[in-house]
Amino acid sequence: MNLSAMKHFRTLLGLSVLIISLICLSACSSDDDIETKTLTFHFEAQALEESLIFEAKKYLTPSNQTMTFERIKIYLSNIQLKDKNTNEVYFELDSYHLISFDQDNATASFTVEGVPAAYVISEIGFHIGVNSEANTSIDHLGDLDPTNGMAWDWNTGYKFLLLEGRYFSTNNPIGEEIKMHIGTDKNYFSYDWSPDQPIAMSQDQEISFIVDGFAPLGTIDFSEGTVFMNDERGDEVAQNYKMGLIQPK
């Protein structure tokens, strides 16, 4: 092959590599071009089937004790959306959401992006808490952040549910602080819900849940103590809220 022919050969080779690369790239980009929509989750804190009033209102617990609520914080994670037609499941990336309620915030919400528009969602799954791996990592995925008041430390992990308020016994007008700080792997609960009507994602959609502030209380007796953490009483609180904490609105 003479020099000129070699040059032509190289040019052709270069061009074909370029063309093949372009085809590959366009194939990839066509994947990315799948139409997607958003699904926004709304939550309202409630007590006794009404909006929960933080601080200002005293509630009578199932054990007939007087208490106020000051704040509720919950980690929801691992959002999964199942398509009715294909049974395919959409997993949200870095799926960690902190929903917080207090005197100034009776509602909370977050939006899941990138849900395929072709989906008709028949099942929604998520966890209350943070999975073991992320729980002991110092990476900040999603809403995980050790400075948001939900972390014990990088070793012990995050609180999955924080409920704080005050318990007023007969002789104590100031009240005692109630601290429910529930976490650890054994209290990492999954939750599945099938909406009455499947949710067609041909447009951006919203769904609403209530957070039942009474769910963690069960029949606990505050006169025996108002701190609930990594002990039997903490586990009792976790079992109390396991099923009823989050309910469709």
Binding site: P146, T147, I174, K179, V227, D231
Partner: protein, 398 residues
């Protein structure tokens, strides 16, 4: 000759003159070059004048990745290099005190992690304040300032010691006047804030910018978290105890420190006044007002800010009134000297490593070995780079 050339205003003239033009001798070429250089220098000179009135240079604040980005920088006081530099000068400026003897840096000394080593800080006339100087560290992650939380921004905080009668005792209008009389400060304020008019508000902004840069993130503990260093077994035991609320029913032993000194920052909760606690220093009758002086709520009596424990080994004495001289005394307090009162933090009154609880006495029940381990961990929070960082040092030191 150049002037002649410049006068050629139309093409005809130019052509005619070009025909008449004789190339000049070498000496003239040199002159031509010389004049050109002068013009170039004049142009460049005018450019450098332009740069002096340029907008302040934005300073990119890069928080340590493991600290998280849960902080706010006020939208009307973003970081600039000139603002930080001015703030540093003001921080160490003794003329911001009535008699020119005291600066912010007098009670907040870098070598002591920005405390002063005294039980109570001394002001202009060497009169004592009623509080121990607070460490200034990682303030950008804080939302309340002073032991009683009376300031909600660093801007608000920064002016109070200047005007305080015991501390620096300089009325703010006089502070403004003194700085306005200084050509150097006038220029610095102009560079930082693009205005000729110095105001108390701008003094506060510059001081706040500087204080927000005081980040300590290279302690032995940080290096351990980032996988760049190891802790000893004793330090690890101390770390685990520090962050654990004890639970005797399951055998979980804890030092109970991390309930208030939260997570990696070891500082108080950022939200509302949740970072304020009554930590059992006094009985009911001796409780100071503390946070109650700000919120007027009875349940806040005797509560003070849980400070960051970063560099704690350098910031003795301890507590808002400097009552404990050593970390050993602090650990003894939390372990066996808690005073019961109506607002005592429930995470303290509830916490014990013992199998029996008493209503009359709060005992944490740590062993001597465990107390020593916690102190060993506290020593890993010292950051030598922080206390020797030139950018935080006194610029007026000879």
């Amino acid at each position: 000759m150049i002037l002649k050339l410049f006068r050629l205003t139309n093409v005809y003239d130019w052509k005619v003159k070009l025909m008449e033009f004789h190339f000049p001798p070498v000496a003239d070429v040199m002159k031509l070059r010389f004049v050109s250089y002068i013009i170039l220098l004049l142009i460049l000179g005018s450019c450098s004048e332009d740069t002096q009135i340029q907008a302040p240079t934005a300073y990119e604040f890069v928080p340590p990745a493991h600290f998280g980005d849960n902080f706010d920088i006020p939208s009307d006081n973003s970081f600039t290099i000139q603002g930080i530099e001015l703030g540093r000068n003001l921080f160490y400026e003794k003329n911001l005190s009535r008699n020119g003897q005291v600066s912010c840096g007098s009670c907040h000394q870098q070598s002591k992690a920005f405390t002063d080593g005294s039980k109570f800080s001394k002001g202009v006339d060497r009169e004592l304040t009623d509080k121990s100087s607070m460490a200034l560290v990682n303030l950008v992650w804080n939302t309340k300032f002073f032991w009683d939380g009376r300031a909600v921004t660093l801007e608000e905080q920064s002016l109070q010691p200047i005007a305080d009668h015991i501390e620096m005792d300089l009325p703010l209008d006089e502070a403004v006047e003194r700085l306005t009389n200084s050509e150097s400060y006038k220029q610095q304020f102009f560079s930082a804030f693009e205005t000729d008019e110095i105001t108390a508000d701008l003094i506060a902004k510059a001081l706040a910018q500087f204080m927000r840069t005081l980040v300590s993130s290279n302690s032995k503990y940080d290096q351990f978290l980032l996988g760049q260093g190891e802790l000893t077994e004793q330090e690890k035991l101390g770390m685990n105890l520090f962050f654990t609320h004890p639970e005797p029913s399951t055998g979980l032993r804890g030092g109970n420190c991390g309930d208030c000194h939260l997570n990696i920052l070891t500082s108080g909760d950022r939200e509302g006044y949740q970072g304020f606690h009554n930590n059992g220093l006094d009985t009911e009758n001796n409780l100071e007002e503390g946070l109650m002086s700000v919120t007027a709520k009875a349940e806040d009596k005797g509560k003070f800010k849980a400070p960051s424990l970063r560099n704690i080994a350098l910031t003795a004495p301890y507590m808002h009134d400097g009552r404990f001289a050593t970390l050993d005394e602090v650990l003894d307090h939390y372990n066996e000297e808690i005073r019961i009162s109506s607002t005592l933090d429930v995470l303290i009154s509830d916490a014990t490593n013992l199998n029996t609880k008493s209503d009359e006495q709060v005992l944490l029940g740590l062993t001597d070995e465990e107390k020593e381990a916690i102190i060993a961990f506290l020593n890993t929070l010292t950051d030598d780079e922080f206390i020797s960082n030139e950018a935080f040092s006194n610029p007026f030191r000879p």
